[in-house]
């Protein structure tokens, strides 16, 4: 009797303790969202989305140049990283995994190891690497959105490759056999059966990769630089993104400090909303896939 009671109390206590841990983890999250939203709403106006910071020293201005920069840099990085990552994943899953050649197996092991290491690289190191590459090839003063995108590619490739590999490995072998038995060459089977079957998973992989890089600040500060003006040209001149915009508004406040703070919070809110939207989209795609199966 007493033992059972003791056990019940211990059990209850443990349950409560664990629930508290869960709640504790929620506190900073809610706080971040609440603070960003409440402070960011102050400047969430038409100007913010239609103006750059060119010639603005006090209140007013906007983040159009940073929003454009984020979209352009993220788009360019995705365009470069995704083919590399999915191509690597396809090679590992469709070719290397079924190979009996010791050379190919060793190569596949090496590629996997390198990608694991790349996944652990701090983003500032990716930025410094790109900075060094540019300093040697183009010149130390060169800054551009494309250079920033290239730094982000280094961060994005391992993320997309790893999850893309998992998605591709889940395409049933029965479908491979079905296609091959119809007299379909392997490369066409990959293009017409494997990729379409894996598409929903690959889309959510892509969205996860994008949300991984969209908030990157450090590498872009190094190689894409900072500007107050619009720049639509990825290959020429400094290009600012939302995270860098937040950082610089916060760091280099003018006389009217409150105006800079407000802009920083609003930019943070826009960025947060974008990432939340991407995650929602990814979940929607995954859920639709699960329903059709």
């Amino acid at each position: 009797m007493r033992i059972a009671r003791k056990r019940r109390i211990a059990d209850r206590g443990f349950t409560i303790a664990l629930a508290c841990c869960g709640l504790l983890a929620l506190i900073p999250l809610i706080s971040v969202v609440w603070t960003t939203a409440s402070r960011g709403l102050r400047r969430l106006d038409w100007d913010f989305f239609t103006q750059s910071m060119r010639g603005i020293t006090g209140a007013g201005g906007g983040a159009l140049h940073a929003i454009t920069g984020t979209l352009l840099i993220t788009f360019a990085a995705t365009l470069i990283a995704v083919p590399i990552a999915i191509g690597t994943a396809l090679w590992l899953v469709e070719y290397a995994a079924g190979s009996t050649s010791p050379v190919i197996r060793a190569l596949a092991r090496t590629v996997r190891a390198v990608i694991d290491v790349m996944a652990g690289i701090p983003s500032i190191v990716a930025g410094l690497f790109m900075y060094a590459v540019i300093a040697v090839t183009v010149g130390p003063g060169y800054r551009s959105g494309l250079a920033g995108a290239m730094a982000l590619v280094i961060i994005m490739v391992p993320v997309v490759e790893r999850s893309g590999e998992e998605v591709l490995a889940r395409v049933p072998s029965e479908l491979h056999e079905a296609a091959l038995a119809l007299g379909v060459p392997k490369w066409r089977m990959i293009l017409k059966v494997v990729l379409p079957t894996a598409l929903p998973g690959l889309v959510s992989t892509l969205l996860l990769g994008v949300s991984r890089i969209i908030g990157e600040t450090a590498p872009l500060l190094l190689v894409a630089g900072f500007t107050d003006s619009m720049n639509y040209d990825l290959t020429d001149g400094r290009m600012v993104s939302l995270p860098v915009y937040v950082y610089s508004q916060w760091q280099n406040k003018g006389v009217d400090a409150a105006a800079y703070d407000d802009r920083a919070w609003t930019a943070a809110l826009v960025l947060l909303a974008g990432v939340v939207l991407l995650h929602g989209l990814a979940r929607l795609v995954v859920r639709r896939r699960n329903q059709t199966r």
Binding site: S99, L175, A179, L182, G183, V184, K192
Partner: protein, 257 residues
């Protein structure tokens, strides 16, 4: 299409699965491969359309001739061989991204062969008729192939294989994942296919072999590690009623396997 199998040996990495099988499979007839698990009957079947070699480390020795042409000749292209020899698998495997109609046309589409709209429609109708599925799906050809029941999916896979007008149809335990009613439908279909096709079927189900096959081949391993041998091969009547070899008698009587 007559199939001549000559001194066929098949191996997986370091393991022999089929050992020195020679047999002649007649055209426009159903030939069943029976035998205990692991006797190499599925491997033998997969050698007839060169699917065995897609397994990493797999090898084939000997030859398979389709109306005289050696499928394992140096200049024979396995991709072309597979287009000529249709195959149906143990578990129905329609392409989940394709509709019923697209699944039937999958062979053409995936090989990159273009068909006119009229040709596509006639191929779809003919293949689905041949697979005894037309009446059940004619009103929902645009629905996903995976929306059908298991037995219908398997007949869809048969239609997919028949659409390319293969010389030979291979079936690897096509009913083992199906309920009795669907099994009945597939068996009826096999009886229909016999008139125009050369069918080779692997089955674990002896009554099924007795019902659908014209000829039966019994395979078994004689000693471990040696791979499956062809023990006895004859008409269904001979094999089930007057088997010559004692191993065949024991297997048919249910004493082993």
């Amino acid at each position: 299409m007559t199939i001549e199998i000559e001194n066929l040996n098949a191996y997986y990495e370091g393991l022999q699965a089929v050992s020195d099988v020679s047999m002649s499979i007649p055209e426009r007839a159903v030939t069943a491969l029976i035998g205990p698990s692991g006797c190499g009957k599925s491997t033998l079947l997969r050698c007839i359309n060169r699917m065995h070699e897609i397994v990493p480390g797999a090898r084939v020795g000997g030859g398979v001739r389709l109306d005289g042409a050696d499928l394992y000749a140096a200049d024979a292209d396995p991709v072309e061989v597979r287009a000529r020899v249709g195959m149906v698998f143990q578990r129905p495997n329609p392409f989940p991204t394709m509709s019923i109609a697209e699944n039937v046309l999958a062979g053409f589409r995936l090989r990159g062969e273009r068909l006119s709209k009229a040709d596509s429609e006639s191929v779809i109708e003919r293949a689905l008729h041949s697979a005894n599925l037309w009446d059940e799906v004619k009103d929902r050809l645009k629905r996903a192939g995976t929306s059908l029941s298991g037995g219908q999916q398997q007949r869809l896979c048969i239609a997919r294989a028949l659409a390319s007008r293969p010389d030979v149809l291979l079936m690897d335990e096509p009913c083992s994942a199906l309920d009795p009613a669907s099994t009945q439908a597939i068996e009826d279909l096999i009886a229909m296919l016999r008139a125009e096709h050369t069918v080779v079927i692997v089955t674990h189900n002896l009554p099924q072999a007795a019902r659908v096959a014209d000829r039966v081949a019994f395979m078994a391993t004689t000693e471990t590690g040696d791979g499956g041998h062809l023990i006895e091969y004859g008409t269904t009547d001979e094999m089930f009623n007057h088997p010559v070899r004692s191993a065949t008698q024991d297997y048919i009587a249910g004493r082993f396997g």
